[in-house]
Symmetry: C2
Subunit: 464 residues, 2 copies
């Protein structure tokens, strides 16, 4: 793994080297990738003290930024690699990734086209990934592990606040890789935004961009490249309380969706309440939200209903935490203990509202009506459509993927939480074992022309 | 199906209407889509005479363009809907698509996350397609069929030379759709390039662009939109004659790859010859190519070898059809009876050359060496890697997909010939049937926290 702070002019060389490293790696057995993960883990263990010392320096510099009001405490906390079991989790993560099944080399379609002519569609890596992330330095290790496991080369750029830490993590990765037959340019760390800008233009070498960070970071990247981008900018998730919603489920699902981790992309930002529930379920849900210190941005109907409920008017947070909705509330990702609320007259209205305002990430219905559950799951056009379950379940680990590359709100390739499967594509291999080879002009309609057989072949691997 | 020649200002309304039509269609049973295909076929049959008369007018106008030197005869021929069995094939194509398995609603992953909490990943349409094609008017029917079958809404733009024909085809599609419960805006035909330009900016409504036409058309679209584009600009395919190539296979595969249909994207444009074959296999292949009137653009080594072979120096096409390679020959898609030729010293050199110059569409090795076949198929980073078979086999029908949307040289979502599978993505549906609903804060590490079950569920359909 090479590391650089070179000028823009050398960025093309970096991208070209990554592509060549990717191409060279295609003939290596996949076992070398697991070997690389083991070596990287070993190097990180050997260099633990240095890395944590560098991380302390990053933390001290960041503390000054926090003191000067230029950085949030939340960001500072994410920087800390020595906290709790974070270091051990990072190392365990490498092992976990190594132990996942190889996502490459698997046949998903195989067909005998003619006697001696066999077609195989086999999973393979995508190519060169450009991964851009912010603050949490351990992400470089996570992403390098995922890239290596899936057979992709990667160029990685961390946040500037973790420069010292990521530089040492990167060099440990480089030393691990150097002990294997994977090319050194296979994983490459870059340091500057200018390099990122230049790389985003190099669609000849870079095959997929994965940004992991703020809405601003992701939007900026989406607007400045023709390379496919996998990820999400917004996470505007909805909970809809249907006419038949069970009160207790409504309270539990809404409170969890909003408060379990408010700054996560899968936290709920908007609550839709069927108007028949305004004086029954809604005040109970509203009270539970106020108990959890959630600020409620209500439309007129939900505001009026709430204000007139006895359990609310006597609440210590009344009226301070109950506001009228600002104009842009339904397109705002609050990422905080704040929830937009709106009354709707029907399931169809809720579905249409969600389709118009959701970021197509994850939306939930609370209902006892099976037909409504089905219509919501099919009618809401989001990566996740849930029934009586918190939006917070939208997560690769919770879905059972072991680890996740990120969550995609895109509509092609991969949608929702993306595991290793999202880092592979496929290619078609066709082999003629006939005595004279196979040519297309032998097939067709008319005298002497052959017809295709198209007989399925049972195979999980390509046999040659 | 609505049709328009409206100004740019109404283009957003068209896109929005298509998205809403898509959303509304999500709750209709998939049987309505097959019903729509049947009705469309019926309408086309009813209006056959009018349509063929309009096509004749288009042909007459095009003939004037050809006479004036502004259009090629090839383009004129593609316009002809009355020729041979083209009309019947078009109608049969609708039936064929209707008879394909429904690509939506299929579960590809299902897991019990906890007692009463079930996750399903189910295939679903992508959304709104923008399809831009040139000259062949029947493409509007093919593509409308594929979009309807896969549950996607579509906005379609044909070539200006077929305006009269496509307008009538479009109105027959509209009349067919109107007899079903699919919304009228589900399939919409537009007429102008300005509308296309405006639509390419509307990534809020358009989910995938599928251009089918010239390199210039596709490149232009790829450079002017942030909406994902599925297709290919170039088709620079290679044939590599390996050291152990069988002479007869070499001749057959090279000639077919080049001459079976030279203007197709899967025709070979470059031939790489292992240098040990220069005075053996290469002259035989060269002679067969000259017999087929193929112009050979040779590097020094292949030129020298060919010129000194007795079978060549006595050939009627010698030396007229044998040229030295121009500088840009290896990045040129000839689309004609012209082939770039180069000698290479090894399989590794051939692989590296192909990876650097191929458009990653389809490349073939001719070899008797199993290890070389395997290394070529894995090492060449293209959508199709073939052994002893013509590049011309890279085609959805030949692969057994029944029909094809196009051929993708992209690295995500779909690669190579794309069937209906390329027009779907998936969504995750999660349902709690537990008495209190499911919340994420109940899960985790520590006292009283639950662990995820992650037990596979055997299901091909979502059970609610």
């Amino acid at each position: 793994m090479a590391s650089t702070t070179a000028s823009d002019s050398s960025v093309e060389a970096i991208a070209k080297a990554a592509k060549e490293a990717f191409e060279q790696s295609q003939l290596l057995p996949s076992s070398v990738r697991n070997e690389a993960l083991a070596k990287i883990k070993q190097q990180l263990e050997l260099r633990k003290d240095d890395i944590l010392a560098a991380n302390k320096q990053d933390m001290e510099a960041a503390q000054k930024e926090v003191d000067a009001g230029r950085m949030t405490t939340a960001l500072l906390k994410r920087l800390d690699l020595g906290k709790g079991d974070k270091w051990d989790s990072m190392l365990q993560g490498i092992l976990d990734v190594a132990n996942l099944p190889d996502p490459t080399g698997t046949v998903s379609y195989a067909s005998k086209l003619d006697d001696g002519l066999e077609l195989y569609r086999v999973s393979c890596p995508i190519g060169v990934l450009l991964v851009i992330f912010e603050s949490r330095p351990e992400v470089i290790v996570n992403i390098a592990s995922l890239a290596i496991k899936s057979g992709n080369a990667a160029i990685l750029k961390g946040g500037k606040e973790s420069t010292r830490t990521t530089a040492l993590l990167a060099s440990a990765i480089a030393e691990g890789l150097a002990q294997t037959s994977l090319p050194p340019a296979y994983i490459h760390a870059i340091q500057t935004r200018d390099e990122v800008s230049a790389l985003l233009q190099l669609d000849r070498y870079i095959d997929l961009v994965i940004p992991r960070g703020s809405n601003a970071l992701v939007s900026n990247i989406q607007n400045n490249t023709r390379i496919p981008v996998m990820g999400h900018a917004d996470g505007i998730c909805h909970v809809y309380l249907d006419e038949s919603a069970d009160l207790q489920k409504a309270v539990r699902v809404v409170v969890d969706s909003k408060t379990d981790y408010p700054s996560a992309c899968n936290a709920a930002e908007t609550l839709l309440v069927h108007e028949s529930l305004l004086n029954t379920v809604w005040p109970a849900v509203g009270k539970a939200l106020l108990d959890a210190h959630v600020e409620l941005l209500c439309d007129t109907a939900t505001h009026t209903a709430l204000s007139s409920a006895p359990s609310i008017s006597s609440h210590p947070s009344f009226p301070s935490l109950i506001q009228h909705t600002p104009n842009d509330t339904y397109t705002t990702e609050h990422l905080d203990l704040r929830l937009s609320v709106k009354a709707v007259p029907s399931l169809a209205a809720a579905t249409a509202f969600i389709n118009a305002h959701s970021s197509h990430h994850t939306d939930t219905i609370v209902t006892e009506n099976e037909a409504h559950a089905s219509a919501f799951c099919r009618g809401v056009d989001s990566a996740g459509t849930f029934v009586n379950a918190s939006t917070r379940f939208a997560d690769g680990f919770r879905y059972g993927f072991g680890t996740e590359v990120g969550i995609s709100t895109g509509r092609i390739h991969a949608r929702g939480p993306v595991g290793l499967e999202g880092l592979v594509i496929y290619k078609y291999m066709l082999r003629s074992s006939a005595g004279e080879g196979h040519v297309a002009s032998d097939f067709g309609v008319g005298e002497g022309k052959k017809a295709f057989t198209h007989a399925p072949i049972q195979a999980s691997k390509v046999p040659w």
